[in-house]
């Protein structure tokens, strides 16, 4: 999901970005994040509902960003990881804090943080990041 976005695009995605609200197919129990409107497995037999993830999970893999894209320069060096959520899907997200504490299989929980801001006059984009659970 792009974080530097138009006002309407940001508005449409706020449930997912702020609160880790995804979707679940109640026919096959598969969960989706970002939220999917359609279950690729059950197809027309699938029934999609909103699903609240707990924000707890585990690091599957990660990388340290030292040359950041526009809007993230001040955060370097920072970690972007693939997180296996406890409820059963994987998402990518930033892990806050000391980059040396991040390891594969470490437990994480979600925190609410600023993601980026457009410029001094623009929007501030909020969302979910992750923190290593000591």
């Amino acid at each position: 999901m792009p974080y530097k976005s138009s006002v309407p695009l940001f508005w449409r995605l706020k449930d997912a970005k702020y609160s880790l609200v995804g979707t679940k197919c109640i026919t096959c129990n598969q969960v989706f994040f970002p939220p999917a409107d359609f279950c690729p497995q059950c197809r027309r037999k699938g029934k999609i509902e909103k699903f609240q993830f707990s924000g707890n999970g585990e690091v599957v893999s990660y990388t340290v960003i030292r040359v950041a894209p526009e809007g993230f320069e001040k955060y370097v060096p920072y970690v972007v990881a693939i997180i296996q959520l406890d409820e059963g899907t994987r998402i990518s997200g930033q892990i806050i804090g000391d980059i040396n504490k991040v390891e594969i299989e470490k437990r994480v929980k979600s925190v609410f943080r600023r993601i980026t801001e457009d410029n001094d006059q623009g929007l501030i984009h909020y969302g979910i990041k992750f923190e290593i659970v000591d």
Binding site: K14, S19, I96, D98, R113, R114, I124, K129
Partner: protein
């Protein structure tokens, strides 16, 4: 009808900078400052933390303790002097992140360091009037202090959230406010850092208002100093509440639990609310707590809380204030300048 605090939660960023580290940069006597302010170190928000993120984390803890459906909250008021947007309510973002109802009264409050307690009063009034079932009041700040100014040694970050409603863990027995036009500390629109009247902040600022509101509340409720087990006073530093406590006639032991300023500085609108959460973390049924805030400009809100049996089942449902204060990482002045955005890239 018993109304009071149904759930509460605090949040304090993990970074700290010591008085010694700041004093070293400005050539000041750190020992004299520590002794004068009764502060050892202050909290510093990370680059991606602000009043909105602090409010969300504190309110999530309050919801965990309250154990209520967030949809039942009918009002959300956030008191702060560091709302990230000048025009665009912090409350809208916090409400969305918490999954509150869209049938919701929301406003951002500002009254220097007492906007959080003003939010608590509004929620109390609405619940008492039967307009809402629960109200969420938050006091939070990422306090500003000009580099080199006396405020830089104490201006910290943090906040606390309170859900006001029926079946409380602490009954709100009554509230009393004292307000005058006393300009001891101010920040003009568009300015980054506040200005202050130095010693004028003590008398006739802080002490006149804190003492008048506290005494007014005790008179209103026919309560005496001996009736209270804990005292929470606004903490611009450690010395002011300590002296105010003595002037009110309370023994200092009743203040000690709430004196979080020593290890996290003054988080402005979150100051007395975080002090109260530190007390609630250890309070027992039957304890009575006096809390008095202070907002420059100037005014004080005083409250009396009577802790109920419900406290025992809710205290451990979320991280305590001490969890946040003791989980810390000290940084140097260079990182402090970077984290607080004083360094322009």
């Amino acid at each position: 009808m018993v109304i009071g605090i149904v759930g509460y939660g605090a949040y304090v960023p993990k970074y700290r900078i010591t008085i010694d580290e700041i004093a070293k940069v400005w050539g000041q006597d750190a020992q004299a400052l520590r002794k004068g302010l009764l502060v050892e170190e202050k909290s510093v928000p990370a680059m991606d933390e602000d009043t909105i993120t602090i409010s969300v984390e504190a309110a999530r803890n309050a919801l965990l303790r309250a154990g209520i459906d967030p949809i039942k909250i009918g009002a959300l008021y956030i008191g702060s002097e560091s709302h990230p947007y000048a025009v665009k309510s912090s409350g809208t973002i916090v409400a969305q992140a918490l999954g509150l109802s869209t049938n919701l009264m929301v406003a951002d409050f500002e009254f220097a360091c007492k906007a959080g307690t003003a939010a608590m009063q509004c929620c109390y009034g609405l619940v008492k009037a039967g307009e809402i079932e629960y109200g969420l009041a938050i006091g939070a700040d990422t306090s500003q202090g000009r580099p080199g100014d006396a405020l830089e040694y104490t201006a910290g970050a943090g906040g606390a959230a309170y859900i006001i409603g029926k079946d409380p863990l602490a009954e709100l027995e009554g509230t009393f406010s004292y307000t005058t036009d006393t300009t001891d500390f101010w920040r003009r629109d568009g300015e980054k850092y506040p200005s202050h009247g130095a010693r004028f902040s003590g008398h006739p600022g802080y002490f006149t208002h804190v003492l008048s509101a506290s005494k007014g509340l005790m008179k209103k409720l026919s309560l005496k100093v001996e009736d209270f087990d804990y005292v929470v006073l606004h903490m611009p530093n450690g010395k002011f509440p300590t002296n105010a406590c003595k002037l009110l006639g309370f023994p200092l032991e009743k203040l000690e639990t709430s004196l979080v300023v020593k290890r996290m500085g003054n988080c402005y609108s979150g100051s007395s609310p975080v002090g109260l959460s530190a007390v609630l973390d250890v309070a027992k049924p039957g304890n009575r707590i006096l809390m008095t805030s202070y907002g420059s400009g100037a005014g004080s809100d005083s409250f009396s809380f009577l802790v109920t049996d419900k406290i025992l089942e809710r205290q451990n449902k979320a991280p305590t204030t001490e969890n946040y204060i003791s989980k810390k990482e000290n940084i140097d002045y260079g990182n402090y300048v970077k984290f607080r955005g004083k360094l322009k890239l």
